[in-house]
Assembly symmetry: C2
Homo-oligomer: 112 residues x 2
């Protein structure tokens, strides 16, 4: 059948979690780290990432600092207070989701 990404709907959570752990990060760095942490399995493409970052900024969950290092512009993103709250919330939801998925795919349910 189809072969789409299973990570749909979870990318924002992944990004927020990275920011929560690393204080400040820039976009390109995020894509590299996701790839590294997942041993190359998870591809957080720039086409997905940048819209996410812009949305987070628009919603006040991150703030941006511009930096210019040898003619290269970087935009560093950092969680705001509400960004931290949202991250905690999303991670909790994610944990519940993971547990539910395990329940749904592991045991053998009985017919009623």
């Amino acid at each position: 059948m189809t072969k789409k990404s299973l990570y749909q709907g979870h990318l924002t959570t992944i990004v927020l979690k990275l920011l929560a752990d690393n204080d400040e990060m820039y976009g390109y760095q995020i894509t590299r780290m996701v790839k590294e942490l997942s041993s190359g399995e998870v591809q957080l493409t720039e086409g997905a990432l940048y819209p996410i970052l812009h949305k987070l900024e628009a919603n006040g969950l991150v703030e941006v600092r511009h930096e210019k290092t040898n003619n290269r512009t970087r935009k560093y993103y950092k969680l705001t207070q509400s960004g931290h709250h949202e991250t905690t919330h999303l991670l909790k939801e994610m944990q519940d989701f993971l547990k539910q998925m395990e329940v749904l795919i592991s045991p053998i349910p009985k017919l009623k």
Copy 2:
């Protein structure tokens, strides 16, 4: 931010897993069982389910048996051989996905 379903992209796998465990099921029954197994947490709505079942049938992963019980028509779905194969495959993918998600959200990654 948004509050969408985290189960996007996993519903087909859930349906296939149920069929693998229960031999034969009909649509309405599937919605009830998902709800029950997840203690009401996962809502597999009919608007999502029926298109999935029809697609599975179109792709030859399930076969259908019509049954009429006291003026109520039920369509029983049952995995075909390739349906069983696909289920095994998707469940394996799902396991990998769950492991990856745990890696991505649990540990504290270090800056490079």
